[in-house]
């Protein structure tokens, strides 16, 4: 159905593209700025240089922050996938009277403001020595990413015919074997895309990281926050550009996985 091009449609189209420009332009604008030669951020940027990228990759502090965030995001993706898939499988195949409790706890970390979780964890983790440690970050990010993994896995497991597992089990497979050899291969693309989303959410997570970061252990978002707050050097557009490229890569990856999961 093609909308007829009358005045109303044209006006609507104009409004929509104006709003889309409002959404996209601020993201796109940082890309040319990351190649500007000036030592301060001015628009339009003059000249062309890669020195801000070089500075980012040469800086030990930025490298340490990036490495910490990568480790945390990788471990979070694994923890959230395993815990989330186990829980979702139990909800879908189990006879649990815990459905209501499960749902409330599941959306809890989405509804409760992250600042509240961050402050609570800041106090709690300091008393048990997890503040600023990799296990501390991973635990916190696992809670924040679990809802996303569970919703992805619930949609995927719902599409798997339960009779396939039943058939495997009637042929003598154990419940675990039926899951491992029948269900898991079918849900693997969704599991991978859920893990990718958990990775990027953790890697970009600013609020909890802000409070849990110590003097030495700072995640990339925490370092970026400090740089933006204090002096906003042109290294920020360079990092922003790299992060946008990473987001695009992850979305493309998740999209490819999803289209694979649709073809049986």
């Amino acid at each position: 159905m093609k909308p007829p091009a009358d005045k109303g449609s044209l006006a609507l189209g104009a409004c929509v593209y104006a709003v889309l420009a409002f959404i996209i332009v601020p993201l796109v604008i940082v890309i040319p700025m990351s190649f500007g030669q000036n030592d301060y951020l001015a628009f339009p940027p003059s000249g062309f240089t890669l020195k801000w990228y070089a500075e980012y990759f040469d800086s030990r502090q930025w490298r340490a922050a990036t490495w910490l965030s990568l480790q945390v995001a990788f471990l979070t993706a694994i923890c959230a996938s395993v815990i989330g898939t186990a829980a979702t499988y139990a909800m879908v195949r189990g006879r649990s009277r815990l459905v209501t409790l499960f749902q409330v706890l599941l959306i809890g970390p989405i509804i409760v403001p992250h600042i509240a979780i961050a402050v609570g964890l800041y106090l709690f983790f300091q008393t048990i020595g997890l503040s600023g440690t990799i296990p501390g970050f991973v635990l916190a990010h696992t809670v924040l990413t679990l809802p996303f993994v569970v919703f992805t896995m619930a949609a995927a497991l719902g599409k798997v015919d339960a009779n396939l597992e039943a058939a495997a089990m009637s042929c003598g497979a154990t419940r675990f074997a039926a899951f491992r050899y029948v269900t898991l291969p079918l849900i693997l693309p969704s599991l991978a895309s859920g893990a990718l989303f958990a990775f990027i959410i953790s890697f970009d997570e600013p609020v909890v990281s802000f409070f849990l970061s110590g003097v030495r252990q700072k995640t990339l978002p925490r370092r970026m926050f400090e740089d933006i707050e204090q002096n906003l050097t042109p290294i920020i557009p360079a990092i922003a550009t790299l992060l946008i490229v990473l987001s695009i890569a992850i979305l493309l990856g998740a999209h490819a996985l999803r289209s694979r999961s649709k073809t049986p």
Binding site: L20, P26, A86, V143
Partner: protein, 291 residues
Amino acid sequence: MKPVRSDFWHSDGHRLSGLSTLFLLAPFFAVIAFVFIYPIVQLLVISVTEPHPTLDNYARVVGNPVYARVLARTLWTATLVTALSVILGFPVAYYMSRARGAVAALVAVCVILPLWSSVLVRTAAWSILFQRNGLINSALMGLGLTSQPFKLLYTQSAVVIAMTHVLLPFMILPIYGALRSIPNDYTRAAAVLGATRWRTFIEVILPLSLPGVVSGSLLVFLTALGFFITPALLGSPQEMMVSTLVSQQIREVLDWPFAAALVGVLTLFVTLLAVIFSKTLRFDRLMGAAS
């Protein structure tokens, strides 16, 4: 509380035993209890027991005019951001629900890509745009609209604009979901019965899209109330929001009981709203559309 469809947890086939179910759910409940419930409850306990069993901390939040203004500013900012998101988001959702092919893909990318890019990247972009010699001031001066650059950074307007930018996808996706679920037959039937396109929109499409509008508004409003990064980086220290006040109390003043009471007010208010409107908050729909 039913945040998802009743048949969301498909349940057919061979049932797991109760023991296996419990075993598989245990890690989930353990992590949520240890890393989510306990820290929040601990804060709430501190807010009413320190320095001694008291409600004084809460009385200060509401009673002190400085802090009452912070609460009012937070509510007002969240309301403004929600209203702007509806106004900007509805046309996009409507267009998206009618578009096909390459146009639909382009719109979807524009809506979903920001959702998966860092909040810090988006806030940094606004911070760059709002600078004295930034793009917006250069454009205004170039057009001859002003001779002096405006002070844009560190104002509440900057916070509202940037927060609307960050939260807009959370408004567009639920509205889009509601609009997509309206059968085409309805609009065709209205046309057959002689309704103009405008009348069809007002009497058929708009009422049926309302659940999406309510769901999106709640999501944006609740998230905006506790938003931290954008107000912290773009807002003025003289015009704090609850989240930035919490951060200041903990990191500079070290007044934990008061900060805990602020977090308590914020968390209880948000949770109350979520419970009241739990039927309209459709997370399954949002998550499905966002990925």
